[in-house]
């Protein structure tokens, strides 16, 4: 009797092995289930891209590539050229990076290389806290504190001293490119700083000791560490750029929202994310809606490229150093 049950069990096991391979059944379900979740993320991205493409079909068919090169954005005439908007996004993001990256790297160096232990933890926490503040709060602060300050102090000062440059001309509105750049740089700072700090910390301690034991100064050993970490820091910068490009609320609240290409930082501008957020509710015609979705598609593609590039860099650096 007992021999019999054993035999059936054995047969069942052989049967299961035939279907599922040699693996444990539970493990197999676990593996397939998590695989499904992972694939789901991938599908989601493709689906979003596809949906946006379909949604923007009318606009793509009418304007084609001129959507990217035409500088008139006129919903009344139904003419949609996104150049000034793309310009606004690119310029505001890059200027924000130029302001915040040196500062962020300085913060990261201090946190990972120089600060004493008791100071490092609370400071790192504060930096990360900065990254967690909702962007509408930054926007509100921008409207009530930053913009008046720019209007009353910064812009008059700049146009008086540096007015011979085309970047600092025009009426001091407060709202405009300069305000957007400043607020973006504040928002990008904690991301770049905290990721750079992690990257620097992932450089093995033995590298610092190797340098110090050869008679390097603190600055020289930090340079060695920075060199090890350079591609990772560049990746962190790219992630910051990703955030700046996609930032919506705070920018919309302070940039002035006019599709304009002007060299002056005092003039209002517009970014892709702000256009979408601002004009979606007014998009009554199919063409208007389609153009907005096309704008979203452009932003989507740019963001994907930036993020993929950044991840690749960080990943390649970690592999090269063989950390963890």
């Amino acid at each position: 009797m007992q021999a019999n049950t054993k035999q059936t069990e054995h047969k069942r096991n052989i049967f299961l092995k035939k279907i599922f391979g040699s693996q444990n059944f539970g493990d197999l379900i676990f593996e397939r289930l998590t695989l499904l979740f992972a694939v789901f993320v991938f599908l989601l991205v493709i689906l979003m891209g596809y949906e946006m493409y379909i949604g923007s079909k009318i606009s793509i068919e009418k304007f084609g590539w001129s959507f990217l090169t035409n500088s008139v954005w006129d919903p009344v005439q139904e003419i949609y050229g996104a150049l000034p908007i793309i310009y606004g996004t690119v310029v505001s993001s890059f200027l924000a990076l130029i302001l915040s990256v040196p500062l962020s790297i300085g913060i990261a160096i201090f946190l990972s290389e120089l600060s004493p232990g008791w100071l490092e933890k609370p400071l790192s926490f504060l930096v990360e806290l900065l990254a967690g503040i909702p962007s509408v709060v930054y926007g509100l602060w921008g409207i009530f504190v930053l913009v008046p300050w720019i209007r009353n102090d910064v812009e008059p000062f700049l146009s008086e001293r540096l007015g011979f440059l085309p970047f600092f001309r025009g009426a001091p509105y407060g709202f405009g490119m300069l305000a957007a750049v400043l607020i973006l740089s504040i928002m990008v700072l904690p991301i770049v700083a905290s990721i750079s700090r992690d990257i620097l910390k992932s450089v093995p301690q033995s590298q610092r000791e190797a340098a110090l034991a050869l008679g390097a100064t603190r600055w020289q050993s930090t340079k060695i560490v920075l060199k090890d970490a350079r591609s990772g820091i560049f990746g962190a910068t790219m992630l910051g750029l990703g955030r700046a490009v996609g930032e919506t609320m705070a920018v919309t609240m302070v940039i002035g929202n006019r599709a304009l290409i002007s060299p002056s930082l005092f003039d209002p501008a517009y970014t892709m994310a702000s256009v979408i957020a601002n004009e979606f509710s007014e998009a009554t015609s199919d063409m208007y809606l389609s153009a907005l979705i096309q704008l979203a598609l452009v932003l989507f593609v740019i963001t994907i490229f930036i993020n993929a590039f950044a991840k690749l860099l960080v990943w390649s650096m970690e592999r090269k150093l063989g950390t963890r």
């Binding site: 033995s206 000791e209 034991a213 050869l214 008679g215 390097a216 100064t217 060199k227």
Partner: protein, 249 residues
């Protein structure tokens, strides 16, 4: 005896934790001193006190250490570390630098930029470290694309390039295979003609093979310090005897 490093009543701390207790030891010039003892006995800490690397990780010391009669605490650590070179347990070449630049790194920290000066020093150092023949055709390759044993000899060459007076070695062969280990040991034999060497090791045969004197550390204390032959054949202390005969540790 010509004393190079003189340590008196050295105590070392990590925070409030005392890791070295009342160590007094004289290290003679152009000799090899081996430091042996079980894990956690403070031998690495002792070594790191000598070139002031102990304070890099936040440690403190009391007592006195004199190098050529000069008080260690009164020296500039940056200058001191050029005189007391260090080789670490795990090979740690700079991954972003070529083999050449790894060896030249210490000189560059000193502000030597001229390639005409650097090139002969790099060659001499690599020869001293018995690595020249293996890498002379690919000096521009990355310092991490060679084997572990070669990396460790590269690190020794890097240390030699700065022309130190003392070489501190912290278990330099513990991460290496037997062939690389014997190469490092031969190297130590060569180097002691010109350098004073302090080597921390886990491997008692290694201590017996390469050193002139041996110090046995246990629980942060110096138990016995004598000629290597005496320590391994006829130690005065029972604990030392138990350790070198493998009865504990």
């Amino acid at each position: 005896m010509d004393i190079k490093i003189s340590v008196k009543n050295l105590e070392a701390f990590y925070g409030k934790n005392k890791v070295l207790k009342n160590i007094s030891i004289d290290i003679p010039r152009n000799k090899v001193v081996a430091i042996i003892g079980p894990s956690g006995c403070g031998k690495s800490t002792f070594l790191r006190c000598l070139n002031r690397m102990h304070e890099v990780v936040g440690g403190t010391i009391t007592g006195s250490i004199q190098v050529d009669g000069e008080d260690l605490t009164k020296t500039d650590p940056v200058l001191l570390r050029k005189r007391l070179g260090m080789v670490f347990q795990k090979p740690n070449p700079f991954p972003t630098m070529s083999i050449f630049n790894n060896v030249a790194a210490g000189l560059r920290f000193n502000g030597v930029r001229n390639k005409k000066i650097l090139t002969p020093i790099v060659e001499r150092s690599l020869k001293q470290a018995a690595l020249w023949d293996e890498v002379k055709d690919n000096l521009d390759d990355s310092g991490v694309n060679i084997s572990g044993g070669q990396q460790q000899r590269l690190c020794i060459a890097r240390t030699l390039a700065v022309d130190p007076e003392v070489i501190l070695m912290d278990e330099p062969a513990s991460a290496l295979d037997p062939i690389s280990t014997s190469k490092i040991e031969e190297l130590i034999f060569e180097l002691k003609k010109n350098y004073t060497i302090v080597i921390v090791t886990h491997n008692m045969q290694q201590a017996a093979r390469v050193s002139d004197s041996t110090a046995f550390f246990y629980m942060g204390e110096l138990i016995e310090y004598d000629k290597t032959t005496k320590i391994f054949t006829n130690p005065a202390n029972k604990q030392t005897e138990d350790y070198v005969t493998g009865r504990f540790g």
